[in-house]
């Protein structure tokens, strides 16, 4: 039972991560490979603030979002000068730099040793130690972010973002500030990524840089693409599918060591197939609608 709750909590984390990435990758067409980096910034900000200064969870969340957003803003000033594949390579570079800082800045992050002893969250005097209460908290955040993103996508700003992803020069010609919209979208996306970071740090109570690698970024991007760009429900379903996949493989009798690799092989294959057919997400593989990405 505990383990099932743990899986649900993981699904919440990945839903938060993929939906926040969907804001920049799906709505705006800014496919970023730096998302695990921003996730990591959220987690590290939380870890450092709560172990060194004893800050509480409710203070950590806005601070982590602020720091992640600030870094994303600086990054976007550079990265948004490039488009398409160059943008992806650029964000990949940023991911490597962020990882390298987490892994090597011994004084701040303790490098590969990681930061242990992050306290659990307390709410109105009650400590949220049990899995079930933590799951409820995560669900609360999933609901908020889902609601916010859905409203963004329906707002005028969201329509501008979609217009940018379809035709950048046309959007510019009708008087939309493309550069500003892209910056806002990228920064917001990184700010939302800090939320699962904070939750993760408090939940696991120990973080080290290996949770925030390029592979993790690729994984989150795969969730978004498999679920469909711009499709929030799709992100949630894809996250649930990919988190539960190793369990399903274990259920059919595959040993642990193989299940982890098999999961990656399976999502890699889905990624290739979805891209080969030019469809947007797995859902469209089975329908005739052919909305193109980018």
């Amino acid at each position: 039972m505990e383990y099932i709750l743990h899986l649900f909590i993981l699904i919440c984390f990945y839903t938060l991560l993929s939906q926040s990435l969907n804001l920049s990758a799906g709505f705006t067409g800014l496919i970023s490979l730096a998302h695990a980096g921003f996730y990591g910034i959220g987690a590290y900000t939380t870890a450092i603030l709560s172990t060194q200064f004893g800050f509480s969870f409710w203070l950590n969340i806005p601070l982590a979002m602020f720091i992640s957003g600030a870094i994303a803003f600086i990054v976007s000033l550079i990265a948004l000068r490039t488009v398409e594949d160059y943008f992806i390579i650029c964000t990949l570079g940023i991911q490597v730099i962020l990882f390298s800082i987490m892994n090597n800045w011994m004084d701040l992050t303790r490098g590969p040793l990681g930061i242990p002893g992050i306290p659990s969250i307390s709410l109105l005097g009650f400590s949220l130690d049990s899995k079930i209460s933590f799951l409820l908290l995560s669900l609360f955040f999933v609901a908020i972010i889902w609601f916010v993103l859905r409203n963004i996508s329906k707002s005028g700003f969201g329509k501008t973002l979609t217009a940018i992803s379809e035709d950048e020069i046309y959007s510019q010609s009708i008087g939309k500030n493309v550069y500003l919209s892209k910056t806002v979208s990228f920064t917001l996306s990184a700010m939302f990524a800090a939320i699962p970071g904070t939750l993760y740090a408090h939940y696991i109570s120990y973080i080290d840089p290996t949770s925030f690698t390029v592979a993790e970024s690729i994984f989150v991007l795969s969730i978004v693409i498999i679920g469909g760009l711009g499709n929030l429900t799709g992100s949630f379903l894809a996250a649930a599918f990919l988190v539960l996949l190793p369990e399903a493989l274990r259920f059919v009798g595959m040993p642990d060591s193989i299940a982890a690799n098999m999961r990656q092989i399976i999502y890699g294959l889905i990624l290739v197939v979805v891209m080969m057919t030019g469809k947007n997400g797995v859902k469209e593989l089975f329908t005739s609608k052919a909305k193109r990405i980018a």
Binding site: I78, E84, D85, V96, I97, S100, S222, M262, M275, G278
Partner: protein
């Protein structure tokens, strides 16, 4: 002196990888990230052939370069060519190649395990002394082979009919089709040669140090950074880019710490993207600026 020597070694390694990557990039115009696994699998095939079947070393190197070239060509035929037929948007290629990378890398992990492997060649030598630095036989071979391949492939590109067609497809695939050069066939040849070069680079690098299923990814990224810094489409730029990256990495290793080598590489890339997005050669590429 040792610093200079190490720098020269990584320079040749980056040059070879950047060159093999740009060969494919020129003719297809997308980032073939799965190239990283081509580098890795070259080394793993050698390991597999020599250790499992005890095939003599030179034969197994030849076999693995061939096998790797086949994998590269298979990627093109099975995936990218199908995508070109469907005329999917440019970004889809990059994402599909990331997917391919994930699949192939995990196949290698499944097959060989994630631990560090060493290709054990005949004997471990102390190395030859050049002035006051040490150089091993493998490192000498790396330098010689890299120079030879780089020169040979460049000559091939400039002085043979097939080579000229590759360059023609790189500059305008549609016009080539009109003139009766099959761009599909040429792209296939580019994938074959590029993959063989990458496999060689991978084998040399694995013999010099050691290997894990993911070691190709970093190497490839250095090659890509060298290519972007040099300016896409310029061989001289690539040489300069590889030289700059190699020097920066080893100076960083010497003056700061080896652990910051990666970060320094990407900081250089980002600085270039800010101030000189077209690279050394300054050739205009529509993708860099809208």
């Amino acid at each position: 002196m040792q610093l200079l020597l190490n720098e020269i070694l990584s320079f040749f390694s980056f040059l070879l990888i950047g060159f093999s990557f740009s060969l494919i990039y020129h003719s297809t115009r997308f980032f073939h990230i799965a190239h990283a696994i081509i580098i890795t699998s070259g080394a793993y095939f050698v390991f597999f052939f020599t250790n499992k079947f005890s095939i003599p070393f030179p034969v197994s190197v030849t076999l693995s370069i061939l096998a790797t070239a086949i994998i590269g060509v298979a990627c093109e035929i099975l995936v990218y060519r199908q995508m070109r037929k469907r005329n999917v948007p440019a970004l889809a290629y990059l994402i599909a190649s990331i997917g391919l990378y994930v699949v192939l890398q995990n196949c290698i992990s499944l097959f060989f395990g994630d631990d560090t492997k060493i290709i054990n060649t005949a004997e471990v030598t102390v190395g030859h002394q050049v002035f006051d630095a040490y150089i091993t036989t493998i490192q000498i071979i790396t330098i010689v082979v890299s120079i030879a391949l780089f020169v040979a492939v460049n000559l091939f590109l400039h002085y043979t009919a097939t080579g000229k067609s590759i360059r023609a497809v790189a500059s305008n695939p549609e016009l080539c089709n009109i003139y009766g050069i099959s761009s599909n066939k040429i792209i296939l040849i580019a994938f074959g040669i590029g993959s063989a070069l990458a496999a060689t680079a991978g084998i040399l690098s694995a013999m010099d140090t050691n290997m894990t299923p993911t070691f190709g990814f970093n190497l490839l990224l250095y090659g890509v950074v060298a290519m972007i810094i040099g300016g896409v489409g310029s061989t001289r730029g690539l040489v300069a880019g590889a030289l700059l990256i190699a020097s920066a990495q080893h100076l960083a290793a010497y003056y700061i710490d080896t652990k910051w080598m990666d970060a320094v590489t990407y900081i250089i890339l980002i600085l270039f993207l800010i101030w000189k997005p077209l690279g050394f050669s300054g050739k205009r590429l529509k993708k860099v600026e809208v």
